[in-house]
């Protein structure tokens, strides 16, 4: 393999994976069972994957939106999970 091609391998691999990820992501759908889950359920199930479930009183409504985004970057929550969990935490 030519050196320049070899050097570009990580870039090519990155592009292929990005394309693959994009195509898979548009074809995915959630089941009715998952769709019917409440924010409270998702809060209980997902937060404790890494740490204890947080108290809704710990942050303000606005802060929960920010933390929801931060947690999505950490734990790769789906958008629906993030929105439902944040909506649940903002109720209090």
């Amino acid at each position: 393999m030519k050196p320049i091609l070899k050097r570009k391998m990580p870039l090519v691999a990155f592009a292929v994976v990005v394309a693959l990820a994009t195509s898979i992501m548009v074809s995915c759908a959630e089941s009715q069972k998952v769709k019917a889950k409440t924010g409270a359920q998702l809060w209980a199930e997902n937060c404790q994957r890494c740490h204890n479930t947080p108290s809704p009183a710990s942050f303000s409504h606005d802060q929960w939106t920010t933390i929801g985004m931060h947690m999505q970057t950490r734990a790769q929550l789906t958008d629906e999970e993030r929105d439902k969990i944040v909506a649940f935490l903002r109720q209090f």
Binding site: C28, C50, M69
Partner: protein
């Protein structure tokens, strides 16, 4: 109407006119203030644009106490012991405020400086763009997507035992860009996290160190993690990670590159009345650059440059117990295995066991008591004079960690 009736009517009208007018004026004043306030709120709402900035500061503080006994046993000789007692929890001390700056619901900046007792550093400083459902684009300095420990479990208020697992720090944080997301898959869920960064850097003796903002070669490094959560309640997560990229330039390392691969698992479920938490990670690192340079006399030497690190931990918390004190206790155990290349100058076989008892004051405040014992056998190059030396360590930690 008679004159008397007319007089009574006028008197009543004047009387009510005099009493009602101030009341109406007062009511009108209240209405006016209320209307003004509503107008101001409406204006405030109208001024609130989708891109409004929101800054918040959270952070972690971890400190404590560490008593250590280290016994070094040379080959064929008697062992020698030394003891230390340290406040500040030795190198586990951590004070890390984290700034989260959200701009609307599309942009998020994350910045975490950290003081670890010896150095003031930065754990991450990156910006993320929430481009579409299941697609977050980020750039800057961030924790590489490899395994679960560094990105999710390393914070003192999350970790179940006081010390970090030895050898799990690579590949750490790096400069670059990446994409990530979580997506539904029927009743399951999967996630991806991929990055393109400067990559690790090879040292002359064959060791790797973390990347800098200026790369030491023209090749970039790809790393990524794919995970599957096969159950709808997200109780189990299985992940695989990989990394590949150039680590050096110039003779004799023109073609030097590093390959890492690994697997991790995370199981959290309440098996009433106990919350069971099992986490583990395995990673292997291969570097193909040869030959290396001895740090003692600068002569060339070679060895099979392969390292591996792994840990498995389990913890148990009686969350459904009757007594509040008992519900806040958590028992944790961790086994760590770390092997660096035999016949290198830093070769060792390291094993560690940790037994911990934690008390949770709140969901983010914990006091940890951990007893850790480790055994390390030196497997370095014969000329190092240390081959076969065994180092046993016993550590007691009392650590307090808080997230605010």
């Amino acid at each position: 109407m008679s004159n008397n009736q007319l007089t009574v009517f006028v008197v009543i009208t004047v009387f009510f006119g005099l009493t009602i007018k101030p009341a109406l004026a007062q009511q009108s004043g209240v209405d006016s203030a209320l209307l003004q306030r509503i107008d101001a709120l409406e204006q405030q709402m109208a001024d609130q644009k989708p891109g409004e900035s929101h800054l918040m500061i959270v952070g972690v503080a971890t400190f404590g106490f560490n008593a250590n006994k280290t016994t070094v046993i040379p080959q064929g000789g008697p062992g020698q012991s030394a003891k230390t007692v340290t406040l500040g929890d030795a190198d586990r001390y951590e004070f890390s405020p984290m700034l989260l700056w959200r701009h609307g619901t599309k942009w998020l900046m994350e910045f975490e400086p950290s003081f670890d007792g010896n150095n003031l550093g930065v754990n991450w400083a990156n910006i993320s763009y929430f481009a579409a459902p299941g697609l977050i684009v980020r750039a800057g300095y961030f924790v590489l997507p490899f395994g679960i420990y560094n990105k999710r479990l390393a914070a003192g208020w999350i970790d179940k035992v006081a010390p970090d697992p030895v050898g799990i720090d690579l590949p750490g944080s790096d400069f670059g860009m990446g994409i990530s997301g979580g997506l539904p898959l029927g009743s399951m869920k999967w996630s991806y996290d991929i990055s393109l960064t400067n990559g690790l850097q090879l040292q002359p003796d064959g060791e790797l160190q973390g990347a800098g903002i200026v790369d030491n070669n023209l090749n970039k490094t790809v790393s990524g993690r794919l995970s599957l959560l096969p159950f709808s309640n997200s109780c189990l997560e299985i992940g695989v990670s990989a990394l590949y990229g150039g680590v050096a330039s110039g003779l004799p390392y023109n073609n030097a590159n590093a390959t890492m691969y690994g697997a991790d698992l995370n199981f959290v479920k309440t098996l009433s009345p106990i919350l069971v938490n099992i986490k583990g990670q395995f990673s292997r690192l291969l570097v193909n650059g040869q030959p290396y340079v001895k740090p003692t006399d600068s002569s060339a030497y070679t060895f099979d440059n392969r390292s591996s690190s792994s840990f498995i931990q389990c913890s148990f918390r009686p969350t459904a117990g009757q007594h509040a004190f008992v519900k806040n206790l958590e028992l944790a155990f961790r086994y760590v295995d770390f092997e660096t290349p035999a016949n290198s100058f830093w070769g060792q076989n390291y094993h560690e066991e940790d037994l911990g008892l934690d008390y949770w004051f709140s969901w983010r405040t914990v006091l940890k008591f951990t007893y850790a014992w480790s055994r390390s056998t030196n497997t370095s190059d014969n000329t190092s004079g240390l081959k076969g030396v065994v180092t046993n360590m016993n550590n007691i930690y009392l650590q307090f960690s808080l997230q605010l």
